[in-house]
């Protein structure tokens, strides 16, 4: 399992897939590979990123490696009884074509075992409402890079409230122009300064 972690952290896609296959051949359970291998490795990647020991490229290649391992497991996951730890709906606000930050959060959430419904970029409030109704997530994430698209966060929270869905979800916001004051003002539950902070909040949200 330690070798698997090292391959993921190093961003070695082929090496990761090979070790996952070897573990399966050795009859290691899918859930064990997920929790002790993939999720633990991505936790370590997140910690290193947050503490400034690695940067975005290292995170991106680690995520690629993790996905190559996940691809080996995927056909077996359904039958194994492994369930996601929770569901999250996430998107970039209407008028915003930037999604690197959002994708990093998705990577962190998936690495932590979440099922993530990615609404993509340029997402209007009603699309968030529809996705919450359909997927019933515990966590909703909104991202904005632009000053002009930040107001979309408030409009989306209002739309979620109007639809009577606010109590069932924890809402986290992030992005370059967003800060704690703004998050408080619009009634978000959390402002995340980076993807790791978002993941920590999302995991905590499952507990209450």
């Amino acid at each position: 399992m330690e070798a698997l972690k090292e391959k993921i952290i190093a961003g070695d896609e082929a090496g990761t897939a090979e070790i996952v296959q070897n573990l399966l051949d050795d009859r290691v359970e899918v859930e064990v590979i997920m929790k002790q291998g993939l999720i633990t490795a991505m936790d370590e990647v997140g910690d290193r990123f947050q503490s400034g020991r690695i940067y975005l490229p290292e995170m991106l290649v680690a995520a690629q490696a993790m996905k190559s391992g996940l691809a080996v497991l995927e056909p077996l996951i359904k039958g194994s009884g492994v369930k996601p730890i929770g569901t999250a709906v996430i998107g970039t606000m209407r008028g915003d074509l930037h999604d690197i930050g959002k994708n990093l959060v998705i990577m962190s959430l998936e690495g932590a075992g979440f099922e993530v419904v990615d609404l993509g970029m340029d997402v209007p409030p009603e699309k968030f409402v529809d996705a919450i109704t359909t997927h019933q997530p515990r966590v909703v994430g909104m991202s904005a890079l632009l000053s002009t698209t930040m107001p979309g966060m408030e409009q989306t929270i209002q739309a979620i409230e109007t639809a009577g869905l606010r109590d069932g979800v924890k809402i986290m916001v992030g992005g370059a122009p967003v800060n704690q004051d703004f998050a408080d003002r619009i009634g978000a539950d959390f402002y995340g300064k980076d993807s790791v902070a978002a993941k920590v909040f999302a995991v905590q949200s499952l507990q209450g």
Partner: protein, 378 residues
Amino acid sequence: MAIQQPFKHGADFEYLRKVLMREVSEGPVPIIELAVDGDPMSEVTGLPTPFSSLLDMMDFVESDGSINQDSLRKGIQINDLSLAFARAVGYDYVTVIPAILIPRTKANISREVPGQVKQRSWQNEHAGLIPDRAAFEAFPWPQTSGLGIVSIDYIVPQIPEGARIMVFYMGIFEDLRALMGFEQMAIKSIREPGLIGDILEKLTVIAETELDKIAAHPAVGAVFYADDMGFNTGTMLSPAFFKEWVIPRQKRIADIVHKHGKPFLLHACGQVDALMEDLIEVVGIDGYHSFEDNIEPVEEFYRRYHDRISVLGGVDVNLLTHGSREEVRARCRQILDACGPGGGFAMGSGNSITNYCKIENYYAMLDETRRWNQEQGF
């Protein structure tokens, strides 16, 4: 809403140059911008604009590296607008963006929302024109011997007395991201750093060649070199990457500008603290621009660095977009009180006057600076 009163009458680039080079500590705080979008320039002057935002110019060059007649016409129009804008506001310089024949990719968004985004283009973050070595080899790189300074030659006869040209030059790391797409570039920086190095080298040689001609021109006053390297909390790639691949090349580019005795001003968005010593000591930047209060208020930066480089702009674009005139005035006052008295400071936005900033807030920033200068007896 057209401008009612210019910031000042008459251009004096020589005074601005002294501020940029920290040769004076007494005197009025001048104004400076890296860039102003077409829409606000149009609103100030009453003239039409061919581009809503400057980023719309990303498809100025065709995918084969050529310029069509429509782009040429728009290029002339944007130069005329830039000239009229500088006169109307009272800047000491006219901004010129030299034609750089490098194709780029962009992602468009166009929506009419009152007071918000009109039309704007953004760099495509995922897909670029150079995904691999074969595409690099086949890319229509401009012939450096054929590069000209057409825009500068066009505008020189028309610049106001006492003014000079401020050249906006797109940086090599910006261009690298534009050519590869951010995500692809980030992954290649680990999986194929040699390709990254080769693209950067190509871009550096183009920049050296072009800026050698540009900076030599007597009408050119300074070069504003725009090379974003950070995001909110740190550098986009590791500081080690920048120190190995980018900083030495930026130094070569700065050296060319300095060879002609012109200030080399850096615009670099994001938290780039980890690179600041290299930017000052190795690259040799004369001034630094790009401030967001989320990252570091300009006053704090000024306190740390104003004895080594000039500090340019600082009013957060977020405030210019969402704030009231009173809030903008109050923030300008704070900045001026902190950065004005020590010299080496020019007032302006933290990034650029975008087509989503409120024009009345832009005017409030100019007016508050004028008032402050008057109160100091200038």
